[in-house]
């Protein structure tokens, strides 16, 4: 193990551990405020998530969506762009996947139908990502604000389509898709019966591997990271910063959009208004805790999915809202400790004579 590698690992791993400790302390306080014993509530949380097949299946399902949005946000950050729009990109992706799934005849074989729906999902998210990308590159409009504002615009627009043109009466969802359904894990592993986990998880892992390959094994990825670290230097080095930014944010949107298939093709088989339900925003937390590395993103997605499913497991004793507080605490704690840890490690590494 080279010392450079060790340094990088330390810098990457310390903040999440600090955050976990802080979150545990806050969790203790919240549990005590409800007059319960922290140890037994935490045990319940673990038993309800990793302790049985159904709970674990739900964790995998929730982690799948979060992996997509986390990868999307982290790809943007690697290029120096903050994509706060994963929420609406996810929704737009799910929506277009459902549209194609509704339009395709059931006679079309699934090996054609599923990829077409997936392509539509990526396209939907990609379009929503391309708008702030274009405005940033062409007009210098800050992508943070544009993506936030676009979230509201896109979600209101989708709500209008569903509410006025495409819903099953008395609901806010579309009819069931005719084609493009992705099988659930319980078809292969009966123990998962009842949980929403489906084969989309494999696509999430492939997406993570793809992002890793792009970032660390291709010229484009090298340029992307160079732009993220030092845009001016990259520009002098002959890289078109605008081009990199446009491609990165569009691809980021496409990855978030692809996440929409987990719910639409894998779980409910229809698009429902508000199905994203905060998974896009949580993607920011996942990218942050996962330190913008695909492997870290997968682990962080599992962590946040465990928290969210665990909230349901403990609800009889402590309100599930506790985990929402802890999510916020973890994000702030990681955001606070990243610069601090970096500074502390740099100082510790300085030779004693200096």
């Amino acid at each position: 193990m080279t010392s450079r590698f060790r340094e990088q690992m330390e810098e990457a791993l310390f903040p999440p551990f600090v955050a976990l400790l802080v979150a545990l302390i806050f969790g203790d306080l919240l549990i005590l405020s409800y007059g319960q014993s922290p140890a037994s509530v935490y045990r319940l949380l673990l038993e309800g998530t990793w302790g049985n097949a159904y709970g674990f299946g739900q964790v995998l399902y929730k982690a799948t969506t979060l992996a997509f949005t986390g990868l999307a946000v982290s790809l943007g950050i690697r290029a120096g762009l903050f994509n706060v729009g994963a929420e609406s990109q996810l929704a737009a992706g799910g929506f277009l996947a459902a549209l194609v799934g509704l339009g395709l005849s059931p006679a079309v074989p699934g090996v054609i139908g599923v990829p077409l729906c997936m392509l539509a999902a990526a396209l939907g998210g990609g379009i929503v990502g391309a708008i702030p990308a274009f405005l940033r590159v062409k007009f210098g409009a800050h992508e943070v604000i544009v993506t936030i504002m676009l979230n509201f615009v896109v979600l209101a627009f989708l709500n209008w389509i569903i509410a006025n043109h495409l819903h099953v009466p008395e609901t806010l969802h579309t009819p069931e898709i005719h084609n493009g359904a992705i099988p659930r894990l319980s078809q292969f592993i009966p123990a998962f019966h009842g949980s929403a986990a489906n084969l989309t998880i494999l696509i999430a892992l492939l997406a993570a591997a793809g992002v890793w390959f792009l970032l660390f094994r291709t010229r484009r990825g090298y340029e992307l990271r160079a732009v993220g670290l030092q845009p001016d230097a990259a520009e002098y080095g002959g890289v078109s910063v605008g081009g990199v930014w446009f491609r990165a944010l569009t691809l980021s949107g496409a990855i978030a959009g692809l996440g929409g298939i987990n719910y639409v093709l894998g779980y409910k088989h229809y698009y429902e208004d508000q199905f994203a339900g905060g998974s896009g925003f949580l993607g920011i937390a996942v990218a942050l805790v996962g330190r913008n590395h695909p492997i870290g993103v997968i682990l962080a997605a599992l962590f946040f999915a465990t928290l969210s499913q665990g909230g349901l497991a403990i609800h009889a004793f402590v309100p599930k809202q506790m985990v929402e507080v802890l999510q916020g605490v973890v994000i702030i704690a990681v955001a606070m400790s990243v610069p601090e840890v970096r500074r502390a490690l740099r100082q510790a590494r300085r030779p004693a004579s200096a």
């Binding site: 943070v144 676009l150 920011i284």
Partner: protein
Amino acid sequence: MNPISFLTQMLRISVPYLFAASGGVIAERAGIISLALEGFMLTGAFSATLGAYYSGSPWIGVLCGILGGLVFGMIHAVATIRYRADQVVVGIAINLLAVGVTRFFLKLAFASSSNSPRINGFPAKLSAHGFDNPLLWMGLLVAPVLAFVLYRTRFGLRARAVGEHPDAAESVGIPVARVRYAAVALSGMLAALGGVYLALDQHQFTDQMTAGRGFIAVAAVIFGRWDPLRAALACLLFAAAETLQIQLQGNHIIPSQFVEMIPYVLTIVALAGVVGKATPPAALGKTEH
């Protein structure tokens, strides 16, 4: 449509925006990105409800609401100023935290996951239009007062200096961090007042009752180009659109979803610089100075 009822409804709708947007302006002019307005408002609404419920007095509610905003503002300030955490991340996290905290304590205090019991607002003795609500008047006055503070006082000058050129400010002896702490704390308290107004006006706290108003205020800050009076005008404009939509309901001229989009679309257009470019304070969001 009755112009008087239109105007009064517009003013009442604009009050939470006016408070929150003023909070956004002061923080951003001092160089701290302000995406937590929604969270500050929600915390303000909830702590005001707690105060008003247990004391029976709306004024205690106002005080508690301000205090709630101050606490969350200080969390934001410590994280972004002392620890130099990413301001966008912290802002978003504060919003998540506010939703979680208010829900958890709603459950703890009132054993409900949707709303609090009824609380006392300000008594409406004179008219049904809400004009005897002191918060309404404060809301209408906050922007001109902030404009005075920002452009005519020492604190305002210092806040603008640390937002534009923190290095230069520091070299002439301005305590950059302290000015920013004050600006963000003030931002939390002002935005919280927007939430306080909502809770007292509706006589209760309901889960996520701010419903995105904090982000409309963010839009107003940018559309108003970081100037208190322009931002206030933007708030009035957005409130007018909302009022129009409410009063025209049933006419189906424009679907409500498209009216909801107006503030956001206008802000994107303003940022892209199609009509007069919106340029943020120079040091906005820079963690190192």
